[in-house]
Amino acid sequence: MAHVDTQVVETITKRKVELVDCDVHAQATEAMLANYLSAPARRLLERYGRRTPRVTDWYPRARNAGMRVDAWPGKPGHIWGSDPETTRAQLLDEFGVDYAVLEVLSGQDCYDHPDFAAEWNSAVNQWQIEEWLSFDPRLRGTIAVPHEYPSLAVAEIERCAGDDRFVAVLLPASAAEQLGSPKYWPIYEAATAFGRPVAFHTGGYVDHRGPGYPSFYLEYHVGNGIVMQSQLASMVAGGMFDEIPGLRVVLTECGVAWAAALTWSLDSAWELMREDHARLPRRPSEYIRDHVWFTTQPIEEPDDPQHLLWAIEQARLGDRLLFATDYPHWDFDSPKQALPRALGAPLRRAIMCENALALYGLPAERAG
């Protein structure tokens, strides 16, 4: 009799997971992170500030600093995305999000001194743990690392990896070298050894090498997808997926529909110029298929929704797409409206939760 009662209790308290949001922004102020710094680093921050120019200095977000107007917490000392209570109310509770993966971009700059960069990223992670992951059991974190200093980045991964609530390692989509460079492989190896994917999030120090600096945020923002195409080509051509067979990468906030065209061009070039990349034994499309995931926001919106389905099929992305809102940014994709109806229930369910559960190893039921 007692046995049956236990089962009844479990049924009542478990909820089937239906929605995983794979790109949610918590944003720390410098004052918040200063609490986690050593005295010398805090003094440096107070008296000299940081070295990396902020992209918002040269591409101002055209309206409301790039944030949802209603996301301002209205609490002393807080900014958009800094208050867990606001995020819980506007995102987790509002939409019934079962898990939300935080990506804190405050550590993505690359030109700080290594000592400071290491402390700064540790501070980001401690702040995540204390203010967010401990605040609501639906929240998951990503490990911020001083990526330009790979040995320090590896140390930070080792420090944080024991906490299961960190589900990935976070890197920017622009760095001092191309992201396929062997310079960064130790970071990818460490992430893989600890069973974590590497999430590359749009941003970082974008210096527009190649076409020159555009004039507007509009170009910069659409251009995020273009930069990621170039990075994915670098990752494939550089050979990192052969070197680290278990590596899984998540391309975040860069669009998805371009994947097929990039794959065709890579495969065509691979056929044509074999001596140039003799160490790549497999077709580029196969590496992408085996190693690469994409978050959806800001998902492309063709006039004819069928075209988006074609783009997903052409690149075989059905089990590789991870739903994301990008809360609290202006271009938030609503879980209720962002994906076209034409998707069909199984594909929708895969994108909204199943793909993320499989990738991040999250339980399909949670206490609710």
Partner: protein
């Protein structure tokens, strides 16, 4: 084959071939600095077709009904803006004498210094009335994106003479070949032209170039085209969100692109599944966006036949001749 070839290459074999068109100062500069033309080996390695023909005799058998000559030699002129302007003028004179004067089927891109709008405007004024020049040639890799207001006087000079503008793959020595940094393989550099071309599409539309120059067409040459539709889906979506930043962009960006851009067919990087080729063409609003190019002597694989196979006879004629004839005012 009945065709208009929108990208046929020629190049002087050496700077000495341009000496008749350069003054003493530049002849001495070239000689004393030991500057040599290398035939852009980074862009066109021996393994993929190598250097372009340098004489009419070597080129003539590759000319179909009409051909537009693209000479990329100016892409090698380093960072000296005075030198770039002198070489551009010399190349245009060389093109006229060596090729255009000998064959009425030939047209050419007018080359200009990519480093100075003033110099580009002067050169367009100097030779742009010659009806055998049909467009201004710019490297897709620029110091500043081509839509930037600093370049608008050049577009104005081109349009006054009925010239279009071609952005051709490669260019500008010293820049990283991708938007994400320096590369380690030719494959990345080669494909790097395509993301850069996308950035140029964004620039030209966002800066209102086509509102200011409603008759201007931009021919994206050797930059691929399979990337176009997904770019426009995102461009339109973002424009709906932040159009206030660019109020001179009055319509969805995709409308400007469909009216004002055309893309050459080499390279054509296509899916192996023919159904996906049909989908690709439908997504990019049809094969009317494309114009034929051989890109001789450069090799890009066998995308073009796979593309032509999926077209009706009428579409094929349009791609091979009709669209380009209209664009450049050519008639059989």
């Amino acid at each position: 084959m009945d065709a208009i070839d929108c990208d046929l290459h020629c190049a002087p074999e050496s700077y000495e071939a341009l000496f008749p068109y350069l003054n003493d100062y530049w002849r001495q500069y070239i000689t004393e600095a030991g500057i040599r033309l290398n035939g852009l080996p980074h862009a066109y390695p021996r393994g993929l077709g190598g250097t372009a023909p340098s004489t009419y005799d070597a080129l003539s058998e590759h000319v179909p009904d009409f051909a537009i000559l693209n000479c990329l030699t100016g892409f090698e002129t380093h960072r000296n803006a005075y030198f770039a302007a002198a070489v551009a003028s010399a190349i245009n004179d060389w093109l006229r004498e060596e090729f255009l004067a000998r064959d009425s089927r030939l047209r050419a891109s007018l080359v200009v210094s990519p480093l100075s709008t003033d110099d580009a405007v002067s050169e367009i004024s100097r030779v742009g009335e010659d009806p055998q020049f049909v467009q201004v040639l710019l490297p897709v890799r620029s110091d500043v994106p081509w839509g930037n207001k600093n370049h608008h006087a050049m577009f104005a000079a081109a349009r006054e003479r009925g010239l279009q503008v071609a952005l051709h793959a490669w260019g500008r020595a010293g820049l990283a070949p991708t938007p994400s940094g320096f590369t380690t393989t030719y494959m990345e550099d080669y494909l790097g032209n395509q993301p850069i071309a996308q950035a140029q599409v964004l620039s030209l539309v966002s800066e209102g170039v086509f509102e200011r120059f409603p008759e201007l067409h931009v021919i994206m040459t050797e930059c691929g085209f399979a990337w176009l539709a997904p770019l426009l889906w995102r461009f339109d979506k973002d424009w709906k969100g932040v159009w206030r930043e660019v109020p001179w962009v009055k319509r969805p960006p995709s409308e400007y692109v469909r009216e004002h851009f055309r893309f050459t067919t080499a390279p054509a990087h296509l899916p192996s599944d023919p159904v996906a080729v049909d989908q690709l063409l439908e997504m990019m609003d049809g094969s009317g966006m494309l114009v034929y190019a051989s890109d001789y002597p450069h090799e890009h694989g066998d995308g073009l036949p796979a593309l032509l196979e999926r077209l009706s006879d009428a579409q094929r004629r349009e791609l091979l001749t009709g669209t380009a004839a209209e664009l450049y005012g050519l008639s059989a």
